[in-house]
């Protein structure tokens, strides 16, 4: 099996198979990251599609030395979300009614999953924006500290501090909710 580095190199050279493998690796992570940021299945799907179209168009100009591939890709996703939020005016869709609870056929399990996602999204929204970003990239997208740092253009020390403070705040929010 090829390393991610060589897959990326091949994708830069126009190898579609290599790009498809990277797509398979990152698709769910990107979707999840966007979903938790925009709170809507339809919007998350549109934006995820846009991220990969943009990545395909720009992969030729990506410089491996400057940032890890994950950081580069999530940077595109981050910018897409920022643009989307900016464009979004008064008309806000009802969130989470349309949330996907997936790979579960049982309607009870689907409802439970929806509630769970709803709870996490609501807790996340209560954090300051910088903590939201770090928690999303770290715990939802599963990036390493160094990758998150490159994605957000911050130092690793700052990311660690935001991760710690964000987790402590999340704990308080979730505990408060569970206690009534």
């Amino acid at each position: 099996m090829l390393s991610e580095e060589s897959l990326v190199r091949q994708a830069i050279d126009g190898n579609q198979l290599a790009f498809t493998q990277l797509y398979d690796e990152y698709f769910n992570k990107i979707y999840r990251y966007i979903y938790f940021r925009v709170n809507s299945q339809a919007e998350a799907e549109d934006l995820t599609q846009e991220v990969f179209i943009k990545a395909l168009q720009a992969i030729g100009s990506y410089k491996q030395r400057e940032a890890p591939f994950a950081s580069w890709l999530f940077r595109i996703a981050h910018n897409q979300v920022i643009d989307h939020v900016r464009k979004q005016t008064k008309q806000k869709r009802a969130p989470l009614e349309e949330a996907t609870a997936v790979s579960v056929e049982d309607p009870v399990a689907i409802t439970e999953q929806k509630t769970e996602v709803e709870e996490l999204t609501a807790a996340l929204k209560k954090l300051p924006p910088a903590q939201q970003e770090v928690i999303s990239l770290r715990f939802i997208a599963g990036l390493h500290i160094a990758e998150v740092a490159k994605t957000l253009g911050k130092s690793e020390g700052t990311i660690k501090a935001l991760q710690y403070n964000g987790t402590a705040s999340l704990r308080k929010i979730l505990t408060r909710k569970h206690n009534g």
């Binding site: 579609q16 790009f19 498809t20 797509y23 698709f27 769910n28 979707y31 999840r32 979903y35 938790f36 339809a42 998350a44 799907e45 549109d46 995820t48 599609q49 990969f52 179209i53 395909l56 168009q57 008309q91 869709r93 349309e98 949330a99 996907t100 609870a101 997936v102 790979s103 999953q113 769970e116 996602v117 996490l120 928690i135 770290r138 715990f139 939802i140 599963g142 500290i145 660690k160 501090a161 991760q163 710690y164 987790t167 402590a168 999340l170 704990r171 979730l174």
Partner: protein, 338 residues
């Protein structure tokens, strides 16, 4: 103390993400364990619970197909820039047809190319002819009509390619179809803008002022305004307004025909070509004409009704399933009639 706990938390989290158990981590820091444990459980719990959210496999497959189409299209667009076997063909085709069109002697090759399919030698001539026509169409209304017609041609080509199982060609043409629909929509919107500017220009100052008292002398008893005038200012019918309406209807009819052709092909095409056809159907549904959004309360009641319908449509999933009670072509047709 907090700084120390932060450091330990980050270290433990890394270790746990590498596969170490929470108990093992806590054993390394017995003094901090009580504070550390809930934080680590929150982080891991959040991560684990978030991972239950997955995109649907259908959506993933759809994007994959779209990427494939985009890649092939980009590749094809870039080809003429490179000196190669096909570079001269496209250049030759454009130059020849440009001359033919300019001289209005398009009877031979150009006419013969009009029915060419993407896998036929005269297809580049057909595209170049279309491009030349677009270049020499200057009005927005003309551009809208032409792009609508070309989008319909692309849909027929997609159907033909899919029936023959030529998925790559179908994917490339779908990207072109999307471009034509986008251009048609843009052109209609430009006509719409011209209409609203013309309406403003045609509105008299009296119509623009909504306070009838201001125009009444102090000793005169103010007349009750006519009901229509009091509530809404009717939009003056301009030639541009009528044209935009016609264009919208014509594009709606054209997309209905395209959808009907694609849905028909969907029934006959080999199994492996069906996702490509579905993608083309989805593209038409996504790019179909949408009336520019109006601020609530600024339009007539009728317009508000349309606005509500549109909003309802937008919240629905964008992909159109062929097995639904109403076909995509019927839906588009209905929308265009609204």
């Amino acid at each position: 103390m907090a700084k120390k706990l932060e450091k330990i938390f980050n270290e433990c989290l890394e270790r746990m993400l590498q596969g170490e158990s929470i108990e093992s981590c806590l054993r390394s820091y017995p003094k901090e364990a009580a504070e550390l444990e809930p934080l680590l459980r929150t982080a891991l719990g959040f991560s684990w619970r978030a991972s239950s959210l997955q995109p649907s496999p259908e959506f993933k497959a759809r994007v994959r197909l779209r990427l494939e189409g985009a890649r092939l299209y980009t590749k094809q667009q870039r080809q003429p820039e490179k000196p190669g076997l096909f570079a001269w063909r496209r250049g030759w085709a454009f130059a020849l047809t440009a001359v033919l069109v300019i001289l209005f002697t398009s009877a031979g090759t150009v006419a013969a190319s009009s029915d060419a399919l993407p896998d036929e030698p005269l297809y580049p001539v057909k595209l170049a002819t279309e491009q030349t026509r677009l270049t020499f169409t200057f009005s927005d209304a003309g551009k809208a009509e032409l792009h609508a017609r070309l989008a319909e041609n692309r849909a027929l080509e997609i159907a033909a390619m899919a029936r023959e199982g030529k998925i790559e060609q179908a994917a490339i043409i779908t990207e072109k179809l999307a471009e034509h629909l986008e251009e048609a929509n843009n052109a209609i919107q430009k006509v719409e803008i011209t209409r609203s500017e013309a309406s403003q220009f045609m509105a008299t100052p009296e119509e623009a002022v909504t306070t009838p008292q201001a125009t009444t002398a102090p000793d005169e008893t103010p007349k009750a305004p006519e009901p229509e005038e009091a509530t809404t200012t009717p939009e003056p019918e301009t030639p541009e307004g009528k044209k935009a309406e016609q264009l919208r209807q014509s594009l709606g009819e054209s997309t209905s025909r395209s959808l009907a052709a694609l849905e028909n092909a969907l029934e006959q095409a080999p199994e492996q070509a069906k996702p490509a056809l579905q993608r083309a159907i989805d593209t038409i549904s996504e790019k179909s004409y949408k009336k520019p959004q109006q601020e609530p309360g600024t339009g007539t009641e009728e317009d508000e009704g349309k606005h509500k319908d549109k909003h309802k449509d937008e919240t629905q999933p964008t992909n159109v399933e062929p097995n639904k009670n109403q076909s995509s072509s019927q839906k588009i047709k209905n929308n265009s009639k609204k």
